[in-house]
Symmetry: C2
């Protein structure tokens, strides 16, 4: 059994109101470290067997189809140890 | 400038309807690889200067306060290269 992680983030040129809201709330709470905050999604997918290249390609197709909107979002597929 | 990533996931014992919906939709689209899907949040935080241990501790406090609900969610803070 392997765990595959898909990170989905809005493309840099796309406005991210969720991230902006978090970025605006941090200083109100006394946290002044952030110059920029972006919020995205993280999917943890468990699969049977090994995370082969073919399996990762299949997960990428699923990410393109269902997990991310490729018009406005980028995604990264990786195996988590 | 450094980029700090905070991954927030529901605790394993907490029901995750979003992840379940994705897990149920995948086979309908012909993707049969997943035995379990969990969905969470990913925050990308840009900071000025180096990601020191003190800075990471501060980000952890912010994650506890604002980014995650520690009653039902776990989070991981890490520096992204």
């Amino acid at each position: 059994m392997a765990k595959i992680v898909v990170d989905v983030m809005l493309k840099p040129e796309i406005l991210d109101p969720q991230g902006q809201a978090v970025g605006a709330a941090l200083p109100r709470l006394g946290f002044t470290f952030a110059t920029s905050v972006r919020q995205g999604k993280r999917f943890e997918i468990e699969i049977d067997g090994e995370a082969t290249q073919a399996m990762l390609a299949e997960v990428s197709r699923a990410a393109e189809t269902l997990l991310a909107n490729p018009v406005i979002e980028n995604f990264v597929v990786r195996v988590e140890k």
